[in-house]
């Protein structure tokens, strides 16, 4: 019997990530990792792309991982876990090691997933390896000092898309990676957020039991890059969900389904105004960017509702 998704029950299992890692106070990445690993009862093997999570959890001679873990490079976590998973299947099939129902998980930041690692991810998905790829998406390259990525939203200030006097932050919308992954027609794809922990855990369970490659895109607030107080991490994550900037949904065997519908769809401004990275957008000359972002959020939300048969 799988452990019930009740915090008290989950707390009876050993924590698979130890304290003593050096992620910033209030970082959402370890919350996501803890929730995902707690949702899985089976043994896991983790691969991690270069980025904040990797760097801060394994500073030699220390490791915060209580599960087998490998870091290879920045752009190749999907290929790395593909190698591990293939070795497992091969060795089991040849009778060289016993079968253990191991779940293989890759963690990559948005840089390692949307940008530099997209090819390796696409290849691994197409080949059908049995693994769960988790993008902990903090919407920029945080480890190297908050540079823009393909996941950075329109207007956001980053160190490579600074809010200058002529160009007010990032000039492009973020790409819809979840949809791109869904287009691979793999058995399970979902978007999630740690503030909706139960939804995230349920998706994790579906993902690791779907019998093929699975992908979770999990919004991961970074208080350093987003510029908010450390204790606002989950509130801001939930605001992204309630503004429909970050809808929670899943695509299971090609069927799109909304897993959470906000009671009241809040204006995206409610989310923006709480973060320093968008502060400049509230100057009169930049307000049009908020309108543009709102229009894009609405357009994508409507498209999603249609895909999910909600209208």
């Amino acid at each position: 019997m799988a452990t019930k998704l009740i915090p008290k029950e989950l707390a009876k299992k050993p924590d698979r990530l130890s304290p003593g890692h050096r992620l910033c106070a209030g970082c959402a990445a370890p919350i996501i990792v803890r929730q995902i690993l707690a949702a899985i009862d089976e043994p896991v093997v983790v691969a991690n792309a270069t980025g904040c999570l990797e760097v801060a959890t394994t500073i030699y001679p220390y490791t915060a991982w209580r599960v087998p873990w490998i870091h290879n490079a920045f752009e190749n976590v999907a290929a790395t876990i593909a190698g591990v998973e293939t070795a497992y299947r091969s060795l089991v099939r040849q009778g060289k090691i016993p079968e253990r129902d191991i779940k293989f998980i890759a963690f990559g930041g948005d840089g390692g997933t949307y940008d530099i690692g997209l090819q390796a991810l696409s290849g691994a998905l197409e080949r059908g390896h049995q693994f769960l790829y988790v993008c902990y998406n903090n919407e920029a390259y945080m480890n190297t000092g908050i540079q823009r990525s393909g996941a950075t939203p329109l207007g956001a200030h980053t160190t490579t898309s600074p809010a200058g006097s002529v160009i007010p932050g990032k000039q492009q919308m973020r790409k819809d990676l979840t949809a791109i992954v869904a287009a691979h027609d793999i058995p399970y794809v979902a978007q999630a957020a740690p503030s909706q922990w139960k939804d995230l855990m349920e998706k994790t369970r579906k993902a690791v039991n779907c019998g093929g490659p699975a992908f979770l895109n999990v919004l991961s607030s970074c208080n350093r890059g987003w510029r908010h107080e450390t204790y606002e991490t989950l509130e801001l994550t939930q605001l992204a969900v309630d503004t429909c900037y970050w809808p929670l949904y899943e695509v299971e065997n090609g069927v799109w389904r909304l897993t959470y519908k906000p009671k009241e769809k809040l204006p995206v401004e409610e989310w923006l105004k709480r973060q320093g990275r968008f502060r400049h957008l509230f100057r009169p000359e930049n307000r049009h960017l908020i309108d543009e972002l709102q229009a894009e959020v609405d357009r994508r939300w409507e498209r999603l509702l249609a895909l999910c048969g909600e209208k």
């Binding site: 093997v45 760097v55 876990i81 593909a82 591990v84 070795a87 060795l91 390796a120 290849g123």
Partner: protein, 395 residues
């Protein structure tokens, strides 16, 4: 019972891979290595091996998957050439530093650009300081034999380093030759069972592979790699010894051909050594005391042994199939290392470098002969007139 088969170099490697039957192969096609991957895919498709073949979407992913599979305790092999190797580059270093005993067939081809599919050694020379053991092969037979030995060298507990086995693109990779193929069972017995030191699949004893390693320990881990390379010097010879006894073929750090009583010699790797042997025989028939030294092991570089083997000569020419651009006199990498080795080991003889065959430019016996004739002159005068010659380039 072994048997002789007509095989191309690529086929010979694929045959060795079939006999080794690795747990995982991850590879991507690139001329002139492609046939190896194709043949191997066929073995997989026909159930002749129990290998899982990951037909990746790039060489970067090929080497990345190899690292993952190796960390999982699998016996892992791959194959590539030139641009494929260049795309792997980052992970080539990582494979060595994570101490993954991966065996790679590297079919030497000129690096772009301009793009070119034919043989030279610019690809392998770029990886020379990456921490891989590097072996050269004159022909399909040697490529076959080296691949088999490479598995044992790589996986030796005192080594645990990846090994690249080189052969010349097209010249040997696509040339049909007689290759003695040993009995499947004998090869299987020779390579034995891989017992990994650790495995990331050992979920009851979780380990962390590839952590962030700062100035307080990175250096110590590099020092360990040096130690492994030093052990490899011994292990390569031990494995060769066992191989020679089992399969009656003689391998060492290098091959000396009519070198003992020679006055002058050429040092050259891979297929050109075959051409040079013919030239040596011709010149010997004319009473000229010429010989050949064909390095087999390039990493770890057998400096002392090479110096010892060349000590008695009056002049030596190195033939390099790549250029170390901007190095001393824009010489070739083999020349640079060999001259350093000679100097360090107190061998003060005239040495010259001949760059040749770039981008697959044909090297004729007459050109090799001209190198010998130059050296015979140098042996007389004791003076090298031109340190580096770009053989047969049009002015």
């Amino acid at each position: 019972m072994s048997k002789y088969e007509a095989l191309t170099g690529d086929q010979a490697v694929a045959t060795a891979m079939r006999q080794i039957n690795p747990d995982v192969v991850a590879a991507y096609p690139i001329t002139p290595q492609t046939e190896t991957v194709e043949f191997f895919a066929e073995y997989v498709a026909n159930g002749e091996v129990t290998t899982d073949f990951i037909c990746v979407e790039s060489e970067h992913s090929a080497m990345s998957a190899c690292v993952g599979a190796s960390a999982a305790g699998a016996r892992v092999m791959t194959a590539t050439s030139a641009n494929g190797l260049a795309l792997m580059w980052e992970v080539v270093y990582i494979a060595a530093s994570l101490r993954c005993p991966i065996v790679m067939s590297l079919v030497n081809r000129a690096l772009s650009g301009p793009i070119n599919i034919h043989c030279d050694h610019s690809d392998v020379m770029g990886m020379r300081d990456s921490g891989w053991i590097i072996l050269f092969s004159e022909n399909g037979q040697e490529a076959y034999d080296n691949i088999i030995q490479a598995v044992r060298i790589a996986e030796h507990p005192d080594v645990l380093l990846p090994v690249a086995v080189c052969q010349d693109g097209f010249i040997t990779s696509h040339a049909m030759e007689r290759v003695e193929v040993y009995d499947d069972a004998d090869v299987k017995a020779f390579v034995g069972t891989y017992r990994p030191k650790w495995s990331i699949l050992d979920v009851d004893n979780p380990k962390t592979y590839g952590p962030l390693d700062f100035y307080d320990y990175y250096y110590e881990h590099k020092r360990q790699q040096v130690e492994a390379m030093e052990h490899a010097r011994r292990v390569i010879l031990e494995v060769a010894d066992e191989f020679n006894r089992k399969f009656r073929r003689n391998y060492g750090l290098f091959e000396a051909y009519r070198l003992d009583d020679a006055d002058v010699a050429v040092v050259v790797t891979n297929s050109t050594a075959g051409t040079a042997k013919v030239v040596v025989d011709g010149l010997r028939a004319q009473g000229l005391k010429v010989g050949l030294l064909k390095p087999r092991v390039f990493r770890p570089f057998p400096a002392k042994e090479l110096a010892q083997a060349l000590r008695h000569l009056k002049a030596v020419a190195v033939m390099d199939r790549s250029i170390a651009f901007g190095s001393m006199n824009n010489a070739g990498p083999l020349f640079l290392e060999l001259t350093a080795a000679l100097a360090i080991h107190g061998v003060h003889i005239p040495v010259a470098d001949y760059i040749f065959g770039l981008g697959g430019r044909d090297i004729k016996p007459s050109e090799v002969e001209s190198v010998y004739r130059d050296m015979l002159r140098v042996a007389e005068t004791g003076r090298v007139e031109r340190l580096v010659t770009y053989l047969s380039v049009r002015e």
